[in-house]
């Protein structure tokens, strides 16, 4: 990190140091990739294309696709968590590869495989070009590092339109800080109607005396509640209440399939113990 400019300069002549053939691994062709060092799939593709040691204008897209898919597979073998971006790119590249290999069907709607490949190349070249410029820019003499302004400025009577000094940064910062404070002060949690678990427990106990056989839990829900939130709350409370009743041995619960109805039945012989 320390000699950033230098290493970035080198990066443009040499294969990316983040991609390395590790000798100590049985499969000596294995490409070990420092995923943390990469910033997105395009970055990986660019680094891979440089290992081809050819001018960016002559990248073999097919070769590049192969390398990228290898890279993704390697990462998976190593159980590295790959961000969705990388996988999306892999899927797209696999698609591009198949398009490139298969004879192109004339189709009005679809963009030709060559065109797709050309666009990818363009993106890589554009990123490569801006990287080079970034390195050149940072290697320029910089004020405060390589060259210096007057260290002891004297105040000169230059008429300026403003006597106050304020940067856009400070201005926006001030507003943001204000908003941050406001955000903290403005939290209000609205009181919500809820159907309490106690209420559900009571209602369920009473109604279970009437129902004799397996019954869908839904049947016990209070009817005619207009408020959607309250309905949800009731559902949650009845579910919890049923679990609680099963735990203390008052009822049996059964659900035959995932997301299927939850059937409830009063446990036999419970009356006697009661």
């Amino acid at each position: 990190m320390s000699d950033k400019t230098e290493s970035e300069n080198r990066e443009f002549e040499m294969p990316d140091p983040r991609l390395s053939l590790r000798q100590d691994i049985e499969d000596e062709e294995r490409l070990i990739v420092d995923i943390d060092g990469f910033e997105g799939p395009l970055d990986v593709l660019l680094a891979l294309s440089r290992t081809q040691k050819v001018d960016l204008k002559q990248i073999s897209i097919l070769e590049l696709v192969k390398q990228y898919l290898d890279f993704v597979n390697q990462a998976r073998t190593l159980r590295l968590e790959l961000a969705a971006d990388y996988l999306v790119m892999a899927a797209w590249l696999a698609y591009l590869k198949s398009r490139l290999l298969l004879p192109d069907e004339e189709s009005e709607d679809e963009i030709s495989a060559e065109e797709l490949a050309a666009r990818l190349t363009y993106q890589l070249q554009r990123l490569g070009a801006i990287r080079e410029r970034a390195a050149i820019l940072m290697s320029r003499n910089q004020m405060g590092r390589d060259m210096f302004a007057r260290g002891l400025p004297e105040h000169i009577n230059i008429t300026r339109s403003h006597t106050y000094d304020l940067s856009i940064y400070d201005f926006l910062k001030a507003y943001s800080q204000h908003k941050t404070r406001e955000a903290v002060a403005d939290i209000r949690i609205h009181k919500r109607d809820i159907y309490s678990m106690d209420k559900a427990f009571k209602r369920l106990s009473e109604m279970l005396g009437i129902a004799l056989d397996w019954t869908d839990l839904e049947q016990f829900l209070p009817q005619g509640i207009e408020d959607e939130q309250l309905n949800k709350s009731a559902k949650a409370s009845f579910f919890t209440a049923s679990l609680e009743m099963a735990r203390i041995g008052k009822v049996d619960l059964i659900q035959k399939q995932i997301f299927g109805p939850l059937m409830i039945r009063k446990r036999k012989g419970d009356d006697e113990n009661d």
Partner: protein, 217 residues
Amino acid sequence: MTDDENSRDNHEQLRICEALLFASDRPLSSIAIAEQLTEGSDVEAILLNLQKKYQNCGVNLVQVAGKWMFQTAADLAFLLRKEEEKERKLSRAAVETLSIIAYHQPVTRAEIEDIRGVGLSKGTLDVLMEATWIKPLGRRRTLGRPMTYGTTEDFLVHFGLNSVKDLPGLAELKAAGFLDNVNTSRLNFLSDIEPDEEQPDLPMDDDESSSEEQVIS
């Protein structure tokens, strides 16, 4: 060393001296300067040379308290700015007030106080007005007919903006990292800024004869 080389080296030492004194934020002793020169350089001689070189220039090399510094030539002192005209920093309250006016204009004093949750000290608006960044926009058609404020053309020029609508909105501030401590979900509690266009305030009217320029906003 030949004479030629010698003189070239002398010139080089002079240049280094010159650059050091130019960039330094305090007067330098000849010892401190000598540390940066080739060993064995005659720093005193070089400094005297440099002083001579700047003798008739707009800037002179002077010795103060035994140390060396560049200074505007005494006869050009009229160019120096008077102290009270120095650039001033705005107080935190003033910057915040300015930002609230910019985002919420037209806005009354009471509204600013309400938004900031704290009273506006006397003079804050004056300072902003003096800086020509805000101006009265007219009176609101409500009880008490309070004066509203907004930003000026100068304000836009200062920040290189075309219009106040070009100020970044909350989502953009967030994305740029300004609102780091705010939980994103809480952003919903904050309303984004919509410059109030539908209901322009009343132009300043009858009771203030002065208002001509202020009406034009």
